[in-house]
């Protein structure tokens, strides 16, 4: 249950407590501390390398990533996962839902079928090919993760972007809008993401959409905070000041200059969020708030459902559990490595 941003962004950067929150953060300082970590990430596109421009940062970051074993192992896992997910129907040898070998498995007598020539990972408790389920499951898992991240990013970008743009460009009213939005965001940050997700899911009722929405909504405050911070740190940069001096219209500055330049931290956070989304989705499935169709293979559902066979057929739980752990680990490693690469402070 990595439900805190601490888990997603373990604070490699032990901030100086005196540094405080950036201006306009509004809320009480105790809440901003959780937010500081997000803000730190947001500032990563900060005022260094100013002369060389955006591309330079990316290039150096990429060079650094190439040399980091953490990044490479993370990238390999992620790439493998995405490839399997994309080509799942081609890879899976059998249907993931057909109970083709239903007559060979007797869960009521503890008779299960392990790995064999035709079924590489054996059969599940209803006589379905476990390997095919794992492969198709990868696709569903990726779908849940991506949609949840998109939901979180979309709503977060809207909120954070508005707040950030208002704070940078808006004057007095802007500061007020920023303040109001950020108060709300800070309060949402105070709740553990899983708890947010559980309450959303419990009230809407179990379905796959619910899981994606619930996990996504839980990520909104993080993205909002992040985008706002990124925009503010960009907003004070020389080129923005220059553009404003030249009389470029405000919303145009926000759209053409600030937003594209804020993308770095977003990509990092999205990578980390994907890991959380996969794990939180599994937790929701365990709580019975996941997809009500049990034949639909998704790793979280498979894991939650296989718990009861843990002593008689542990492999049924171990496969999806390992898959979840390794995939989440892959995303986390890649995300952490990217952040380190972007953050000069962490590279001492």
């Amino acid at each position: 249950m990595p439900t805190t941003p601490n888990a997603q962004n373990p604070a490699e950067d032990a901030q100086d407590p005196g540094a405080g929150a950036p201006e306009g953060s509004g809320g009480t300082s105790l809440l901003t501390r959780k937010a500081d970590r997000i803000d730190r990430l947001a500032e990563l596109m900060g005022p260094r390398d100013d002369g060389s421009g955006g591309a330079g940062i990316w290039l150096t970051a990429f060079r650094r990533l190439r040399r980091s074993p953490m990044a490479i192992s993370g990238a390999v896992v992620v790439a493998l996962f995405v490839l399997v997910a994309l080509f799942a129907p081609l890879i899976a040898p059998y249907s993931a839902t057909a109970q083709t070998w239903g007559g060979e498995v007797f869960p009521n007598q503890n008779i299960f079928v392990g790995p064999r020539a035709e079924n590489w990972l054996g059969l599940d408790n209803l006589g379905r090919d476990q390997f095919s389920r794992m492969v198709i499951g990868a696709r569903q898992t990726l779908l849940v993760g991506v949609v949840a991240t998109l939901v979180g990013f979309g709503a977060g970008a809207l909120l954070g972007g508005t707040a950030g743009a208002a704070a940078t460009l808006g004057g007095r009213w802007g500061a007020l809008i920023d303040n109001v939005i950020m108060r709300v965001i800070d309060m949402m940050l105070a709740l553990p993401t899983l708890l947010l997700a559980v309450t959303v899911a419990a009230l809407v009722g179990p379905s796959l959409t619910t899981v994606m929405l619930a996990v996504g909504i839980a990520q909104v405050p993080i993205f909002a905070r992040l985008l706002r911070g990124a925009m503010i740190s960009q907003g004070n940069r020389d080129y923005v000041v220059a553009a404003r001096a030249l009389g470029v219209r405000r919303h145009k500055i926000a759209l053409t200059h600030i937003l594209p330049n804020s993308l770095g931290p977003v990509i990092v956070q999205s990578t980390l969020t994907l890991a959380t989304a996969i794990i939180d989705a599994a937790a929701l499935s365990y709580l019975g708030l996941g997809n009500p169709d049990p034949s639909f293979p998704e790793w979280g559902t498979m894991l939650a459902d296989a718990q009861r066979f843990l002593s008689s057929a542990p492999q049924l739980a171990v496969y999806p559990a390992l898959a979840i752990i390794v995939t989440a680990l892959g995303f986390t490693l890649l995300g952490e490595a990217m952040r380190e690469a972007l953050d000069p402070k962490l590279r001492k």
């Binding site: 249950m1 990595p2 439900t3 805190t4 601490n6 888990a7 373990p10 604070a11 490699e12 950067d13 032990a14 901030q15 407590p17 005196g18 809320g27 009480t28 300082s29 105790l30 809440l31 501390r33 959780k34 108060r183 709300v184 800070d186 309060m187 949402m188 105070a190 709740l191 553990p192 899983l194 708890l195 559980v198 309450t199 899911a201 419990a202 009230l203 809407v204 009722g205 890991a275 794990i279 599994a282 937790a283 365990y286 709580l287 019975g288 708030l289 979280g300 894991l303 718990q307 843990l310 002593s311 542990p314 739980a317 559990a321 979840i324 752990i325 989440a328 680990l329 986390t332 001492k348």
Partner: protein, 334 residues
């Protein structure tokens, strides 16, 4: 110092007030309104209307909000749909169990996590460092409920070392003073009860500790690394101060600041984790009650739980802030 505490406390008011507004809006947004959750699905339109009236749902929103707030302030979170008893009472009777569990988890995480993180930092790049960092990453990525099941199958079912469920063995004679089993046992001198309770806390405590442990190891390691590199540590070393003094006074003390923060921040997630852990171990605390509430959409319990966690989170952060300011005078000046 006092002024600092007062200021911090006053700052809580808008935060909690805002949270109550969010919760209120959220309740309004329930599909079909709050009465949906209270009535069976086949309730007639008439029954709905009557319930709406009796709940005061026909009045203006502002009036409703004021009443909502007043109820909360009077400690009235409504009645649980599952048990028909007040939510506050339900939480109150179950809270000691969860508190003991959360405390166990934090103790495990701190006593193992801080030394481990410190050692990892001291021997950066070594085997221990690699294991600590790798282990904590894996810990973060492992679904808690799976870990809990694994612990249960191995230690309770296979090895029989620890009990598999509950908070106490059935039929144990004990004097109930406060609901805090361990504390009561110590006060009355019923050491068998204390022992029994600790055995029951071991596995769920360990499962719940996994995330905080991982976070604390990483925090401590990062923090110590950072401090080791600070000028004052170099100066102290150069001055020829005893390494022991340097480590004790300079490194550990300064490195602990962010770790203390992290522990405070973890409380909220501990309670969320308790929902999963307690349900696996049938541990009779707030978590397993909320788990049941998610199953039955017991919305007074769910909203109550959110409020409870948010309030606790905010209060614990206040404590963290204060302990912070004791550790670091700069914070007070800020």
């Amino acid at each position: 110092m006092l002024r600092f505490i007062v200021r911090r406390t006053l700052q809580l008011i808008p935060t909690l007030g805002g949270l109550s507004i969010l919760l209120f809006i959220w309740l309004q947004r329930l599909p079909g309104g709050p009465e949906y959750a209270l009535l069976p699905d086949d309730a007639t339109e008439e029954q709905r209307a009557q319930l709406r009236r009796s709940l005061g749902l026909e009045e203006p929103l502002t009036v409703q909000y004021v009443r909502f707030l007043r109820n909360i302030l009077q400690g009235d979170l409504g009645t649980s749909l599952q048990t028909g008893r007040p939510v506050v009472e339900e939480f109150f009777t179950r809270f000691p169990a969860t508190f003991e569990l959360a405390l166990t988890a934090i103790l495990i995480a701190v006593t193992v996590g801080i030394p481990l993180g410190y050692l990892a930092a001291r021997r950066r790049g070594g085997v221990l460092d690699f294991a600590a960092v790798g282990g904590s990453l894996i810990g973060i990525c492992t679904p808690v409920f799976f870990l809990a099941f694994l612990l249960k199958v191995v230690f309770a079912e296979r090895l029989g070392v620890f009990p598999s469920a509950f908070r106490l063995s059935p039929g144990l004679n004990r004097t109930d003073l406060s609901g805090f089993v361990v504390l009561d046992g110590l006060r009355t001198g019923e050491l068998d009860v204390v022992w029994d309770a600790l055995m029951h806390l071991a596995l769920p405590g360990l499962a719940l500790a996994s995330i905080p442990l991982a976070v604390i190891v990483r925090m401590t390691r990062a923090s110590v690394l950072e401090v080791l590199d600070e000028d004052y540590v170099r100066t102290a070393n150069a001055k020829g101060l005893q390494r022991r003094t340097v480590r004790g006074r300079h490194v550990l003390r300064n490195a602990m600041l962010p770790v203390v923060t992290a522990i405070g921040l973890l409380t909220g997630s501990l309670f969320a984790g308790a929902v999963l852990t307690e349900s696996v171990f049938a541990f009779p605390g707030v978590g397993s009650f909320v788990y049941a509430a998610t199953q039955t959409r017991d919305y007074p319990v769910l909203t109550g739980f959110i409020l409870l966690i948010a309030t606790m989170y905010v209060l614990i952060n206040l404590l963290v802030d204060i302990s912070y300011s004791l550790l670091d005078p700069r914070v007070r000046a800020q």
